[in-house]
Amino acid sequence: MNRKKNLRLTGAVALISAVAVTLAGCGGRDDSSGGARGGSAGITDSTVTLGITTPLSGPTAGPGTCTVAGIKAYFGAANAKGGVKFGDGKTRKVEIKALDDAYDPQKAKSNYDQLKGKVFAMTAGLGTPTNRAYREAAISDEVPQVLVMTGDPIFSDKGESPMQLGFVPTYINEGEAFGKLLAASGKEHSVAVLSQNDDYGQGYVEGFKKGIEGASNVKIVKELTYEATDTSVDAQITQLAGTKADVMFNAMSITPLAIASLQKAQQLNWKPSWFLPSNTSSPKAILEPGKATAFPGVYSVSFAKAPQSPAFAGDEDVKTFLSDLKQYGDYSDVPAFPHCMWSYMTGATLDQVFQKMTKPTREDFMKELRTVSAFSAPLMLEGTSVDTTVDGQPAVSTVQVQKYNGTGYATVQSFG
């Protein structure tokens, strides 16, 4: 019996050793991971490698897959033309290493640990918790974590995040754009507010209030919140309907709740103009089932041309984008998520930065990253642009308010 026990112990020790040896295969402590002379990791004279950690499985896999497909499409097309011409005179091919984090902060950190020695910069990854999970590590390792897909303002604050920059507009930017449009309408408006009780909803409401600051024609008559885990907001909608407000500001990120809100208001015969955030404004997924045409107007914000929209069917940008996406991004459908377009623009923005870099170092990259302004990336709506020079703002902070016209969205200049 003892003997058997020992055999078991030995076997186990052998197994553990095997695992350890496999791990040790990664080699000893050595920080120079094959970079160009005088350059940083992940960049040679002919290639530059970018790392992405993003959800490719689980509930957020849809948008996550898009964040990889878009940037792969952009640089795939650029590589096919020979590569990107850097400011130091060398032309480099851009390689993308994307890993799945399943929206788990722990896996995101693990992916970052795996990538940081091999890639020049981390980019395009989707998710607030997953990007936050390695934010501090990226700062202390001095690895750029740039143009990431999160509306969390901390990534655009140079003091807090010296190695970071967000790409998409913050929730505040979006709320503010709608507030300004409303304030400029010149008519009296009473607004009912229903927001998600977290940084997301609070950001939208904060921005909206900033937008209507000093405007005497807009009054918030009631503000209610709900929890992201709630399964119904009927009670809140009923309460808000009682105010008979003519505008509903609905900062909601949960698809079924957004549909239910639209439906409940109609049942109560309350038909205000309705604002929805960019990520819960899909015509197919939300507005059609919610019968949004019953309202005088459903508004949202955007900075990207929507390939589904008939307005952009013949657009050159959209055509190139769709064919690049198919050919280089392994994504054959017309994208259902805006993240595909965003990450394509991320690629274009990085291209601009690369063209300005005179030294193949992360340091120079971070310096030049902050100098792109008034850059109109492909697929951008008129009136929006990439501007990385403003501290406290993400690369894209301008959005256009759009109105639902029964099939898709069209940009509007005034409310009504």
Binding site: K5, P105, D113, R135, E136, D198, T229
Partner: protein
């Protein structure tokens, strides 16, 4: 073959092996690359979580689907304490005791229920945990999470952060492993095993199944808290997503794959939890879930007792191919169950009632 096992059973050889392992554990962090150290530390974190799950499920046979909740609570308490500059010892104790107390309270109610009802109650924990972490944003940082770099290497050590963190995991995780090993090999372990195999028999022997179930559950949540502390020390960030229910299921799968009711199996389970997502990412990042599912099925088909039975499976196959395998080997049953589990099946019985575990009988003799 038998001369090797004979050699291995000598006392001085066992001590030598222990010493070699101990020295290896001390030296390893200094030799490996940063990434390897970080990976080993992560394995340690989840090996401790799996160990806790093993106490309640593997050894005591109570289905718990809430282990990740205790890990999350431990991580949050650690993060909260560390960001409020509590003494690190206080932080550690709080991160273990808070989940322990929650575990005790839940167990007092849940252990009254039998079988699947306990599973149902424990499912609720991570499901409540995620919204709770989002709502209590004053303590948890809400959906943006909580980060704390309290575990960076102090200057006097001259170590890199990853080395220091790995030492923390080795010392704290190692101590947890030793304590748990002693717990499940001693009188409590025997009581757990009897509760697992037959509650009526346990009760007739004066072992209260209720009390031991509560004990096992509480110990599991204490160990979950230790794992949470280490999680915060290694990953330095936690958010509500840490407690997602699917992670609890992955922990469960890791436990089964490593080997239920096995100390070494828990360690292998931790390695599975951390390494398999990485391997599947290396193969194809778009197919991670599919690959992980396939590997899970494959392991369960080939090694139903878990990875820990791999050496024995190999030995068994070798023996089969060599009919003259030595007389004493023939006596061992051909398909051996997972370690710990055999205790009950091989136990001498008096009228169907197990008397003593064979191992103990031999050691006491």
């Amino acid at each position: 073959m038998s001369s090797i096992t004979g050699f291995l059973s000598r006392a001085w050889v066992r001590w030598a092996i222990t010493a070699v392992v101990a020295v290896a554990l001390l030296v390893v962090p200094l030799l490996f690359s940063e990434y390897t150290n970080q990976n080993l530390a992560r394995i340690g974190v989840f090996a401790v979580a799996v160990l806790g799950l093993n106490v309640v499920m593997g050894y005591t046979g109570q289905v718990s689907l809430g282990q990740i909740f205790f890990v999350g609570v431990g991580a949050y308490v650690t993060g909260y304490g560390a960001t409020h500059d509590w003494n690190i010892v206080v932080v550690f104790l709080a991160s273990v005791l808070v989940p322990g107390v929650i575990g005790l309270v839940v167990a007092l109610a849940a252990a009254r229920l039998g079988g699947l009802a306990i599973a149902m109650v424990t499912i609720a924990l991570p499901i409540i945990g995620v919204p709770l972490a989002k709502r209590l944003s004053d303590f948890t940082g809400g959906s943006q999470g909580l980060s704390s770099a309290f575990s960076n290497a102090p200057d006097w050590t001259g170590l890199y952060n990853d080395q220091w963190q790995l030492y923390l995991v080795i010392v704290i995780g190692g101590a947890t492993y030793l304590l748990t090993r002693n717990l499940v090999r001693g009188k409590y372990g025997r009581a757990f095993a009897i509760v697992k195999s037959n509650e009526a028999v346990a009760a007739s022997m004066g072992i209260s199944p209720y009390r031991y179930k509560v004990l096992a559950f509480t110990v599991a949540s204490l160990i979950g808290g230790v794992s949470g502390f280490l999680y915060m020390a290694v990953i330095q960030f936690t958010s509500p997503e840490t407690m997602t229910f699917s992670h609890s299921i992955t922990l469960l799968a890791s436990m089964v794959i490593g080997g239920a009711a096995s100390i070494i199996g828990s360690l292998l389970g931790g390695a599975y939890y951390v390494l398999v997502p990485q391997w599947s990412n290396d193969i194809n990042p778009n197919l991670t879930e599919l690959l992980q599912g396939a590997l899970l099925l494959l392991t369960l088909f080939l090694l139903p007792g878990g990875l820990v039975t791999l050496p024995r499976e190999i030995a068994r196959r070798l023996r089969r191919s060599r009919p003259d395998g030595g007389p004493e080997r023939r006596q061992t049953p051909s398909a051996e169950p997972a370690p710990g589990r055999e205790a009950v099946e091989e136990t001498p019985t008096v009228g169907g009632i197990p008397t003593q575990r064979p191992t103990e009988r031999q050691e006491q003799a």
